[in-house]
């Protein structure tokens, strides 16, 4: 067999190149479902497998829910942005909010879930300050 350091799913088909798709929404909980559906649709178009699609749905929901809660807590009025793009061996979804540094109650659980569902999670500074950018990556 091939080298053992290959990713487990290295034999999987590359993703169709698609996106970027950009969604901007008012930081309200009722729009998080819309963001989940958009991200799922792009991931499906890219050819991500059914099992991973469910992970995209939940992880994007967590990232957007976190962005909304951060924005509400900080009184930030900027729109939340979700950018989805796929190509080659990866699907990348970035969620950005306009809030500054502001810990929220469910954040630890949200981060735990995202880490358990995506291949890579990075939380860095966003447009409004620390913690405002969540980048989720899936690899095939």
């Amino acid at each position: 067999m091939s080298a053992s350091d290959e990713p487990v799913l290295a034999h999987a088909q590359p993703l169709h190149s698609t996106g970027p798709v950009l969604l901007r929404f008012t930081a309200l909980p009722e729009h998080v479902r819309t963001a989940r559906l958009v991200a799922m649709a792009v991931a499906r178009r890219a050819g991500l497998g059914d099992g991973a699609l469910e992970g995209v749905r939940l992880a994007v929901g967590e990232a957007c829910g976190r962005a909304v809660q951060r924005s509400e807590s900080a009184g930030a009025t900027e729109l939340v942005e979700v950018e989805v793009s796929a190509g080659g061996r990866s699907l990348v979804i970035e969620v950005r909010d306009g809030a500054g540094d502001d810990g929220i109650e469910t954040e630890d659980v949200a981060l735990l879930l995202m880490a358990g569902l995506a291949d890579d999670v990075a939380v860095t500074a966003g447009p409004g300050g620390p913690g405002g950018r969540t980048r989720l990556t899936w690899r095939v």
Partner: protein, 118 residues
């Protein structure tokens, strides 16, 4: 409808059947219903999640809150769930150790009542 919540009595327990999506938008509705039930003196809850299509961290927070609330009245909260995608959420967060999860309402009622039945 995003979320449905109905309740009934079965075997001396209150079975709460939840359907749809439990997320950052709908979770407050579930929280309110659970608070109401506990306020009415229903301290032994079985939450049937077989018709739940989606569960996020805010939904988990509501379930944990419900568990704390019934326990403060010496009550109990059991879950019914066989869906892998929902069970995965409990596993990733380590909450399978916190909630008794059963494959059917009947088994949950038996376990909740302290019976030794299968």
């Amino acid at each position: 409808m995003d979320l449905s919540v109905t309740s009934r009595e079965q075997g001396g327990r209150t079975v709460v059947e939840v359907g749809g999506e439990i997320d950052v938008y709908t979770a407050p509705v579930l929280r309110e219903r659970l608070n109401d039930l506990v306020g009415e003196g229903r301290h032994h809850l079985i939450i049937d999640m077989e018709k739940v299509d989606f569960l996020d961290s805010t939904g988990l927070g509501v379930l944990v809150g419900g568990l704390k609330r019934v326990r403060s009245h010496d009550g109990s909260l059991h879950l019914v769930c066989t869906q892998e995608k929902i069970l995965k959420v409990f596993r990733i967060t380590g909450l399978t150790k916190v909630f008794p999860i059963h494959p059917s309402v009947e088994e949950a009622v038996t376990a909740s009542s302290g019976g030794a039945g299968a």
